[in-house]
């Protein structure tokens, strides 16, 4: 319409002086004076003015909507934090106070029963039951009567986690909406400026006396017309792109899924996520969470597809690529895994954990040199991070040590897969490049990583050359003591020895999970000792003894001190931190480091 109008209005009169034909020309002749140029100009001015007014309305409209979205987003954010904080307070009380006391009274009741005092046991159980009324965590809804353990995760999920997740998601979506609306409002503002320029161009059009040439005279008006048409096209394009309408139902289902996954109910979490995606097929966070749930269920192909979908739906974050790359590694698609992880590294080039993953992927693909190089780069970044923290007078982030632990677990699993073909959370054996060079490289890198982790944590630098010290094979056992409590003999585990006893009470950790690796020692508990010969060791060298139970390191059993036992001899060290505690049943593994070099490993088993 505009182009026709432009043509009509800007067309010169015919050479014979005949007026131009057409409906618009007829209307113009009917309505206006004969001075064509003046009419053209004023019609353009009016059109642009009206357009500016309309765009101003739109700009204000989207600005106001954006303001409302921001108000909502901020409210959701504050509420989410509040709900979570209060939930943590309630759950903390329920677990650390009410349940701890409940356990305490139950222990007293058990002890009274063992002493043959049933009446006392009944009294203590009455107290226990009275305490159970103080929190829903100890009600039958959450407390398993058989095991005596409450389902804390279900309680947390019901108390605050789902609600906080809903609020958090609403915050994210309101912010997305705010961003979209304000961008649109700003765009209209820009278009108004362009139309203002168009008006200025029209005002600049010279008179016939100044510029007799008609085309030159009309050039500013034609430029203004072109600018106006461009803006109109732009406006149309904006309106063809609709503002997304977010589904609250999808958010609720997503939060339910998060709560279920938190409780370990991955199958039902998957159903909740599926429902959320039915209501909102572009919900990136649902894809991401469903990817995690599928991974937990071992559905690696589905997990990879979900991570990819999360990325495509707009969650363009490094952790999405991180998980996608790792899933591709587990699926055995190393070229894709390497490409994805490199893409993630392009977003976070100093993330050492990604280099460790990349190294493993190269090794799985049979690329030994590339694998070594990736690990070396990761270690360089880790060393740099530790150095920067030390320079700033801070401690290195704890996450760094977690990354080392995770990488070592991954390497251990790969070694197990290469050696035994039992492949859990590793690429399928058939996809691995299996040869001696790979085996050797993986074993070397494992050692390098272990040494680096200890050296960085305690010396702040990567380990230097190993010295001449030697540590002999470990022996595990219990001691024989004299009246003063000194060890006078050593009875190896498995031989007839003082019986290993386990305490009754259970210690819990601040993260509100029950940890059973240590138990309270009883009077007759015999502490487990490790005995080993050594030579060429210098006093003052840093000794680190790491103890793993069922494959996971128990940091509270870690022994760190300077060597003071002389250059050569036989050392006997206790594994538990004090005589108050005894080791719980399980498979144990020990690692001994001197100056950041792993010199000896050993394993033993307690209980059945």
């Amino acid at each position: 319409m505009s182009e026709n109008l432009l043509n009509e209005l800007s067309a010169p009169k015919t050479a014979e002086g005949e007026p131009p034909n057409g409906i618009l020309a007829a209307i113009r002749r009917f309505l206006f004076h004969e001075e064509a140029e003046e009419v053209d100009t004023i019609v353009w001015v009016v059109m642009i003015t009206l357009l500016i007014a309309l765009l101003t309305v739109q700009m204000e409209h989207y600005g106001a909507e954006g303001g409302q979205a921001l108000d909502r987003a901020q409210q959701y954010a504050v509420q989410a934090i509040g709900v979570k904080a209060r939930g943590e307070t309630v759950a903390g009380y329920a677990w650390n106070d009410a349940y701890r006391q409940w356990l305490d009274w139950e222990s007293q009741a058990s002890l009274a029963e063992q002493r043959g005092e049933p009446e006392a046991a009944a009294r203590y159980r009455a107290v226990r039951d009275r305490l159970a009324t103080l929190t829903p965590l100890l009600s039958p809804a959450y407390l398993d009567a058989n095991t005596g353990q409450p389902d804390l995760r279900a309680f947390e999920s019901d108390t605050y986690l789902v609600e906080a997740t809903v609020l958090q998601e609403r915050y994210v979506r309101a912010m997305q909406l705010y961003d979209l609306l304000m961008t649109r409002s700003d765009t209209f503002g820009l278009q108004i400026v362009l139309l203002g320029i168009a008006l200025a161009l029209i005002a600049m059009a010279p008179s016939e006396e100044l510029v007799p040439n008609r085309l030159l005279r009309r050039l500013p008006i034609l430029t203004a017309a072109a600018l106006t048409i461009f803006v109109v096209g732009w406006v149309v394009q904006i309106f063809l792109d609709p503002i997304p309408v977010y589904s609250d139902e999808a958010v609720d289902q997503y939060a339910q899924g998060v709560g279920l996954a938190y409780q370990g109910d991955h199958a039902n979490a998957l159903l909740a996520y599926d429902q959320a995606l039915q209501n909102d097929p572009d919900y990136a966070n649902v894809y991401y969470r469903r990817g995690n749930t599928n991974f937990a269920l071992g559905n690696y192909a589905e997990a990879a597809a979900d991570y990819q979908a999360a990325w495509d739906a707009g969650r363009e974050e490094v952790n999405v690529l991180w998980n996608l790359g790792w899933t591709q590694y587990v699926l055995g698609d190393q070229p894709a895994a390497i490409a994805t992880t490199q893409e993630a590294l392009a977003m976070a080039e100093d993330q050492e954990a990604l280099y460790f993953n990349l190294g493993l992927m190269h090794l799985a693909a049979g690329e030994v040199d590339a694998g070594r190089q990736a690990f070396d780069t990761g270690l360089e970044y880790a060393a740099r991070r530790v150095e920067e923290a030390k320079t700033a007078g801070d401690q290195p982030p704890s996450s760094l040590w977690s990354y080392f632990t995770i990488a070592l677990d991954d390497i251990d699993r790969l070694i197990t897969c290469l050696e035994s073909e039992v492949c859990k959370t590793t690429p399928p054996y058939a996809t691995l490049a299996v040869d001696e060079a790979i085996r050797q490289a993986v074993a070397e890198l494992r050692l390098t990583l272990k040494n680096a982790a200890v050296a960085l944590e305690y010396t702040g630098t990567l380990p230097g050359d190993a010295g001449a010290q030697e540590i002999g094979t470990f022996e595990f056992g219990t001691g024989e003591y004299d009246a003063a409590g000194n060890v006078t003999g050593f009875v190896a585990l498995g031989e007839e020895a003082a019986p290993l006893r386990f305490g009754l009470a259970i210690e819990e950790e601040s993260s509100r999970t029950i940890d059973e690796s240590l138990t309270l020692a009883t009077d007759t508990s015999a502490p487990v000792l490790v005995r080993f010969p050594y030579k060429s060791v210098q006093d003052g060298q840093l000794l680190v003894l790491k103890v793993y139970r069922n494959g996971t390191e128990s940091p509270w059993l870690r022994l760190v001190e300077n060597w003071s036992l002389g250059a050569a001899g036989e050392a006997v060290l206790p594994l538990a931190p004090s005589s108050q505690f005894a080791l719980a049943e399980g498979d144990y593994k020990l690692e001994l480091y001197l100056d950041g070099h792993l010199l000896q490993e050993g394993a033993f088993q307690l209980g059945s």
Partner: protein
């Protein structure tokens, strides 16, 4: 289809377009005649009389004054709109929302720190009850009674010391602890000192945004009226009826806008 066929087809299309153009011109001329005829029928007779320039002059004067009035009204609208500040209301709302969560969290923290002490108190108090019942009903030996009495004394002391660390006024007659009442009273105290209800502020912000938008619509309406006044001045002087109609419409619009301002303000 080869190039020659394409060219022939293009020529045929162009010929048809030319024919259509001629037809369009004919129709437009007919339309012009109809429009002019209608104008002649309805408008006052367009004869060259002495009244015509005078009438035109009056109309022009009216249009000019109306345009001036429209401009003044636009300024008034802008002034009204500048007084609106939804951002300020929203900020007050956010402050209240923040206070609300802060107060709730502090209240919960305080409640549960006391509730921990109450938990100790309840345990020892319950044990005390149990021991008293046992002592009252037992015919046990003196040695055993002595042990029970000692345990009773211990639990009494522990319950008494725990009692110091929570507020007794929230204890119910049955020994339970009224957490809701403690939270409610703490809330009431905080509410007397600071604003804890954000909703009125956010509603006010929304209301102001809505009024602002209505002012913007009125501005748009006035802009249209101004444009009409502007166009009318370039209308053919002979089209008195058409000019009059446009001017009346624009003026009515302006009056409606003024009514709108009155209602909104």
């Amino acid at each position: 289809m080869d190039t020659q066929q394409n060219q022939e087809m293009l020529l045929r299309v162009l010929q048809r377009l030319e024919q259509n153009e001629e037809r369009l011109v004919q129709v437009s001329r007919q339309l012009e005649q109809i429009v002019e005829g209608a104008a002649v029928d309805k408008a006052p007779p367009e004869v060259d009389t002495a009244e015509e320039p005078e009438r035109t002059s009056r109309l022009t004067a009216f249009v000019t004054l109306s345009a001036l009035l429209a401009t003044i009204v636009m300024v008034v609208i802008s002034l009204f709109q500048s007084k609106l500040d939804p951002g300020e209301a929203a900020n007050f709302g956010m402050a209240a929302a923040f206070n609300r969560e802060l107060v709730q969290n502090i209240n919960y923290g305080q409640l549960y720190s006391q509730y921990r002490a109450y938990t100790d108190y309840l345990a020892h108090s319950e044990l005390q009850n149990q021991l008293e019942q046992t002592l009252a009903s037992t015919d046990a030996a003196a040695e055993e009674n002595s042990a029970l009495t000692e345990e009773l004394a211990q639990s009494q002391r522990k319950a008494a010391s725990s009692r110091l660390f929570f507020s007794m006024r929230y204890l119910n007659r049955d020994g339970s602890y009224d957490t809701e009442r403690q939270l409610g009273e703490a809330w009431a105290r905080a509410e007397q000192q600071t604003e804890l209800d954000p909703q009125p502020y956010f509603l006010d912000a929304d209301e102001q945004r809505s009024i602002g938008m209505q002012f913007i619509w009125l501005l748009l309406w006035l802009t249209v009226a101004l444009c009409v006044y502007e166009l009318v001045q370039y209308f053919n002087e002979r089209r008195v009826a058409v000019r009059g109609t446009f001017v009346v419409a624009a003026t009515l619009s302006m009056l409606l806008v003024i009514l709108g301002i009155y209602l909104l303000a």
